[in-house]
Symmetry: C2
Subunit: 342 residues, 2 copies
């Protein structure tokens, strides 16, 4: 019997969930509640790609390493970083009991991690130079009953849509938390110039935030965020320096959203948040212990949330923000130009 | 000028908070908002003590190592585990601007971590054999304006009070979360037979929980929890086995409290929690990434909280639970007998 969590796809060790598994079964035939995709492109997680470049050096060696990981594990699950990424493809087959609402021919992006997605590569990654996080390829992937995928919109370029979908959990959860905090709640976004940060800023504004502060690391980034009109105040500080963060922010806020992807930002977030307030940690570089002991050590009565990448409706919500907020779209497009392959 | 966060006590690197600091200034004179204690006993964090035993072998070598850490760093901050513990002492001096409400002669336990508490040892730890987590000693320690200390109660033995205060954040936050979930909310405590777990169970009951489930690792522990009458259902499973946890719990619950101090319990907690529910992670072995990616990978719309060790009133709340719940008190006393030095 198939399991909506994909337990039937786990080869070893038996009994664990696909994400914890060492190796998955990748045969491209849909079990009753599965969907099989023809893969067109992988989007490797940034931390994973960086690690592979550092370990293997040349782009050719990186390509070989990715291929070997996928062939060995049946998924793109970097054994060092523990992270994966997402993929883009077209629906090939839909099992009769699939609850995902997809149809054959739909172009979709997966919103669950590659670390739990059965994946088979059929072209040896021949079209990829190994020089970019985006990996054009031919192959197949499997979605389970509980997996999440988003139809790619017709009105946005694929690369922009992928970029947005990659971080779409952040604005959706920010929306929820700011609404819970009540109308006019003050909000601080650490890393407000990045992808998840800029989306979180506009989500907070729409959710009724009052004072809205973006903290960024450089004057250059501050200028972009100001030009995009995303916040009431844009301040420059090192998010890893707690006292610097507090000085820059001034009066502590009701909600702090952490989108800075470097370690050591927990204490600044705690200091900048008023008693009774909430911190949402979206950065995968967050240390559980640093957050827990930091708040305790500062006798800070703050609610600290682990940023769950899944909130119902998150994909449409994020795409809609980019469609309707020219400032955010401009930031995303600028970033793409800066980081596009040369 | 002194800072309520203790910045004036940081020797290196300058500008960071005491917890992040490598070395603190320990001179036992109170700045205006400080309190100075005569230390009677350290209570080393269990993870830290275990690591020191594994690294150093003999009790004598452990004692030397602890002494060296304190002399080098000006605090008991294990550089490997990053953890500390708490201490017990008597108030020697109260600065004129201290907001803590303590008086000279008060016997107190610190509720902020030893990793941020300036500490000086004056007897070379001569009275400690190195064989226990509890370290009798003579010395001084400093509390800042924002530090937290609890007066030791007259009606409970010191060791019992220390044991309870060590985990007092868990029941207080459980109380808050269960009340937020509404009357009759179903609650699961992973590790319900331990210190924080048993306190969380009775806190959940008092906060109006409906169905109350304790998950424990062995039949023996299940028997203790049943005998103490702490839960409606006591189930036995390995908290690191997500499917086993779900099978044991059956219908997912509204609130899951994680008190199991081993890594790998995140996915079981996610599977056992209903959509719209809340998970509170108290275990310091929690992995931020495993929780965030696990919930996303399972498309689980759950709210995940980092267990903040500080909630206003947490010390009195926990002590009161032990005073008035004979079942919990019996579990604590049994545990003490089992782990007391031989």
């Amino acid at each position: 019997m198939s399991s909506s969590y994909g337990l039937h796809r786990v080869l070893e060790p038996v009994g664990v969930l696909p994400q914890q598994a060492w190796r998955l079964r990748t045969d491209p035939r849909a079990w009753p509640d599965e969907v099989v995709l023809d893969v067109a492109r992988l989007n490797l997680d940034a931390a994973s790609y960086r690690q592979l470049r550092e370990q293997h050096g040349s782009p050719e060696a990186v390509r070989e390493a990715v291929l070997e990981i996928i062939e060995t594990r049946g998924k793109m699950h970097n054994p060092v970083t523990g992270s994966g990424g997402m993929l883009l493809g077209t629906v090939r087959e839909v099992g009769p009991e699939s609850p995902l609402g997809l149809r054959v021919g739909d172009r979709v992006a997966t919103l669950v991690s590659l670390t739990l997605t059965p994946l088979r590569i059929e072209d040896g990654l021949a079209d990829w130079t190994g020089e970019t996080e985006q990996v054009p390829c031919r192959g197949t992937a499997v979605l389970f009953g509980r997996s999440i995928a988003a139809r790619l919109p017709d009105d946005l370029p694929d690369e922009l849509a992928l970029s947005v979908l990659d971080v779409c959990g952040a604005p959706a959860l920010t929306d929820r938390v700011v609404r819970e905090a009540g109308p006019g709640a003050s909000v601080l976004v650490l890393g407000g110039g990045g992808k998840s940060g800029s989306l979180s800023l506009v989500a907070a504004r729409r959710a009724g935030a009052g004072r809205l502060v973006a903290l960024v690391p450089t004057e250059e980034e501050a200028a972009s965020v100001r030009a995009a009109g995303l916040a009431d105040e844009v301040v420059v500080a090192d998010a890893r320096d707690p006292v610097g963060v507090l000085d820059a922010v001034g009066t502590p806020v009701a909600v702090t959203v952490v989108c800075v992807d470097v370690p050591g930002c927990e204490h600044g977030a705690v200091l900048a948040t008023a008693d009774g307030g909430t911190i949402v940690f979206f950065s995968m570089a967050t240390s559980f212990a640093a957050a827990a002991l930091g708040a305790e050590g500062l006798a800070a009565d703050v609610r600290m949330l682990i940023g769950n990448g899944y909130v119902p409706g998150h994909a449409e919500f994020a795409l809609d923000l980019v469609r309707t907020e020219p400032g955010v779209r401009a930031l995303f497009e600028r970033r793409e130009r800066h980081t596009s392959p040369t």
